[in-house]
Symmetry: C2
């Protein structure tokens, strides 16, 4: 009998060319499929909540797959964690209705961009956070981040490529900049994200820090619908997919 | 004119065979000396607060060196951080009296042993914490840890080798086990440490967790002055040199 499984995984993306399988590059999906093959001796079709770029991390990344194999979910979890490398872990594995799809059933995601804000780099955060030398005024950046809230056409915050077609309107439901010691975090949740959206938002907030923009410029940058108006794309290393939202299962 | 400099450094020890220079092995000291050579074009004699084993980390490791080069301390700090790899950082660099010696002037050190206590490993803590599957009763382990406090002969908590001669009495001034979410930490400070002392203390605390000992066994293990009475040596990956104590400079 065909079953549908939802797996939540976590990974340090430093050593991977993103999620998506690519030729001649090590991807999280590729390594995950290898582990699956060792456990199930078959290659189920995996549906993922999204792609992530090279070097981007995930504290929660969701994928679903249909399979006829009758392995209990908790057994599959243990076996996959045995075969996966230490920088990838399966957090949970559960049976879900057959019409569940990790990407199409997703109703939102939360990302966090982490910035190590100290003149001295941290040896423990190499590839895990952006190192920013000058002191960040997190209150000012938080003020700027408030302007992302709501439904907007985020064309200015999107690297155009084939994957983003049609409507560029996304609804941002959380947007804040906070500090915990020397760690500054930009947290943003939305019903969906355009390509590079969080990294361009972060680069724009850092341009506010550098005095290139004031917080009140954000609405104008959004309205302009032009990528050239926003700040640069921040490096991948600070970005974490934090949470994937699904409607409660009935 | 000869000057004496105190440098505080931080490193992720995962990629190193400890601090000490060794033939045919990459050590923190070796890499540090290479960077020094590039900056100063000379090879000062470095005095270090201690050695660390392969895979052990340092949030604060101290070293002193005498040099006649007149480079300002803050310039040396910046230049070293430029030439050092990302998993080593110089936190501070200051001039100290000529009689200061990173090892002989040291009056104590604090270590922290970190344990990721969750059935699922963390991809972000590989090589950075011990992964312990079963739930740890941190209150019970803390009770056991209290018995380390005070001046004791710690022969039972020492891997005998050439470096530990003479008196095995050390005075433990801090010893506690705490939990923060899934992270369990054993913190221990003393006027000095024997070889593998913190790792054997940790292994013994984990043996308490496993029911091999009760907290009240610790005094008997200490009194027995026999390595075989204590628990195993915990892996290096969870160990951090946290702080090095020096008498205030007059």
């Amino acid at each position: 009998m065909e079953r549908n499984l939802l797996l939540k995984i976590q990974y340090d993306g430093s050593a991977y060319h993103g999620w998506q399988v690519q030729e001649n590059a090590r991807s999280v999906q590729g390594v995950f499929q290898e582990a699956l093959k060792q456990v199930l001796h078959t290659q189920p079709d995996i549906k993922a909540c999204s792609r992530t770029d090279t070097g981007v991390h995930a504290r929660e990344f969701c994928l679903s797959m249909k399979l006829s194999h009758n392995i209990p979910p908790e057994r599959l979890l243990g076996a996959l964690n045995h075969f996966l490398p230490p920088d990838i872990a399966v957090l949970s594995c559960e049976e879900v209705p057959l019409d569940f799809h990790a990407r199409y059933s997703c109703c939102g995601k939360r990302y966090v961009y982490e910035i190590w804000n100290n003149p001295i780099r941290s040896p423990f955060l190499h590839g895990r956070a952006l190192h920013y030398y000058h002191h960040i005024d997190e209150k000012k950046l938080n003020e700027a981040a408030q302007h992302f809230l709501g439904a907007h056409d985020f064309t200015s915050f999107c690297t155009l490529d084939n994957r983003d077609m049609g409507d560029f309107t996304r609804t941002v439901t959380e947007s804040s900049v906070t500090r915990e010691g020397d760690m500054v975090r930009f947290t943003v949740a939305a019903d969906g994200f355009l390509y590079n959206m969080v990294r361009i938002m972060t680069g724009t907030l850092l341009a506010v820090q550098q005095g290139r923009f004031v917080p009140e410029d954000i609405p104008k940058i959004i309205e302009g619908k032009n990528r050239k108006l926003a700040g640069p794309t921040a490096p991948a290393c600070g970005l974490y997919l934090e949470k994937v939202f699904y409607k409660p299962q009935i």
